[in-house]
Amino acid sequence: MKSSRLLAWIAIAIGALYFIVPLIGTFEFSLRMRRGEYSFDAYQSVFSDLQFRATFGYSMLMGFLTIIFGMLLVVPTAYWVRLRLPQLRPVVEFLTLLPLVIPAIVIVFGYLRLYNSSSWLPLTNSTNGTNLLLMFSYMTLSLPYMYRAVDTAMRAIDVATLTEAAESLGAKWPTIMFRCIFPNVMSGVLSGAFITFAIVMGEFTMAALLNRPAFGPYLQLVGANKAYEPSALAIIAFAITWLSIGLLQLVSRFQKTAPAKA
């Protein structure tokens, strides 16, 4: 009893060291831009870089759009599969897992083949078309996480009976979807959204090959050409991640519904 608890603490300590030591090291290094003393010069340099602002803003926007459209795609799909096509569940689960199995580079080459300027749907002809294609790529990448998170949240409520209850009270499907289903799977949508955001902020392959000014390619560029700024960027990225987690916690705490039962 006592010794197993001690072992648990040792395991936690080792795990913590594994995460924290590199972080401290990176942070320490990022402060060393000025010779002989610690300073935030590297951060200043990053924040004053116009390209940082542009790419960061672009990826944030793409992140939000991906989340919104991903949600609109995944929630009704998961709902429909649970309600009407339960025999298709294994198929849909398999499909949503494919982006984990197929490398991003393969997916993006597939897209480029399908949607290039001489194809039947030349999305890459215009900037907005390419942006759209990039957003769809991000949706594909986030699908495994988004679908699973939403599907798990749906398991906690009895989707079929809630739907029938709403129908017998006269509701039509938009009402059922947005007033009875969405609010009850919000916890799943939020955790899916958080992961999606993290993926989009760091994604390199798709953005680079579609030649869009996203944050991932920028990180790569800076990392290849500068010394201290990459460390500062890494710390900034961590801060954003933690902020997202904090916000997620806050939101789920203020949600007025029951804690979802697994």
Binding site: L162, L169, A258
Partner: protein, 353 residues
């Protein structure tokens, strides 16, 4: 014309026919229970009335209008589910208001109706609570209020009490019946619990393998079961095999004891075996009883059930149970003792399958 009619309803899932030739006419304001064992098709019939399933044959009308092809959200039928099915993201008041909001009622009217409904179920003080903050019994009352709020034409309840514990089950069923009578709403109540059905219904439909075996008032169903299935399922009737001795005189024999029945034995012929039903509370012990309306046998068990003592005795090949009211002076018959049970000729009913 009846308010809610089901005419020749059929329902198959693939090759399996689960509802067969179901006919039923329910009057306005009537409380009808569908009673039957699990899997006999009660829920399926209810879901066809609600519109969640489409009959493979037959028609359903409400107030003279054919509903068979209407969608559930066009039928104006209130539904209460076994698992409550309250919307977890809405509090009590919002749940009750849902149907009214969907119907686009003005806010003042909604507020007034919600208040009225919460008063009806005595939960006005919990309007702000969320479903997960309430007991099962409270949630089911909210579900009832939610179903009733839009003033449905018909109220359907599918085993609404099955998930609750015994005490609440009894008090809530009385509350449901009282609210139903107060509002005069036509109600169909599904249950597999015969006591529940007997205690609150105007009429009961006993269902067996997708068919209505018998339709009648609780007293009719209990006192005069028309099939062996109904006799077995409702109450604790004794089913006794008897041999016909003389059809002309309605003479039969149970074991080697002769009895004369009141109802005609025909078309059974001498030597045929027929089934008789005897309610446990019909007879009483009479040591000196002789003759045509008494049976003598050996006691095989005697159980104290609180208000009654249930004794089982062996007569020929049959075991017959009978109840005696408990009283302080009563000495229950001992196992192995020979007792004589007296009843009237009309208590022995012939069951034809």
């Amino acid at each position: 014309m009846s308010f809610l009619t089901l005419s020749n309803i059929q329902k198959s899932f693939g090759p399996v026919q689960v509802v067969k030739d179901f006919d039923m006419a329910i009057e306005k304001g009537e409380f009808v229970s569908f009673l039957g064992p699990s899997g006999c098709g009660k829920t399926t019939v209810l879901r066809m009335i609600a519109g969640f399933e489409t009959p493979t044959g037959g028609t359903i009308t409400v107030a003279g209008r054919d509903q068979t092809s209407l969608k559930p959200n066009q039928r104006n039928i209130g539904m209460v589910f076994q698992a409550y099915a309250l919307f977890p993201n809405m509090n009590v008041a919002e749940n009750v208001a849902f149907g009214l909001k969907v119907a686009g009622k003005p806010k003042a009217e909604i507020d007034a109706r919600v208040k009225e409904m919460l008063g009806l179920i005595h939960l006005g003080h919990l309007a702000e609570r969320y479903p997960y903050q309430m007991s099962g019994g409270q949630q089911q009352r909210v579900a009832l209020a939610r179903a009733l709020a839009p003033k449905p034409q018909v109220l359907l309840l599918d085993e609404p009490l099955s998930a609750l514990d015994a005490k609440i089950r009894v008090s809530l069923r009385e509350e449901i019946r009282q609210i139903q009578q107060q509002l005069g709403i036509t109600t169909v109540f599904v249950t597999h619990d015969q006591e529940e059905a007997l205690s609150i219904s105007d009429r009961i439909v006993v269902m067996n393998a997708g068919r209505a075996d018998q339709i009648g008032t609780p007293a009719e169903i209990y006192n005069r079961p028309s099939t062996r299935f109904v006799a077995n399922f409702v109450g604790t009737l004794n089913l006794i095999d008897a041999k016909v001795i003389d059809p002309g005189e309605n003479r039969i024999a149970i074991g080697d004891q002769g009895v004369t029945l009141r109802e005609p034995v025909a078309p059974a012929k001498a030597g045929d075996t027929i089934s008789l039903a005897l309610r446990p509370e019909a007879g009483s012990i009479a040591p000196d009883a002789k003759g045509e309306t008494a049976l003598t046998g050996e006691v095989v068990s005697s159980n104290f059930l609180g208000s009654v003592i249930r004794t089982r005795m062996k007569v020929g090949e049959s075991v017959i149970s009978f109840d005696m009211f408990n009283s302080p002076g009563l000495v229950p018959p001992a196992v192995g003792e020979t007792v004589t049970l007296r009843f009237t000729a009309g208590d022995l009913l012939i069951i034809r399958d």
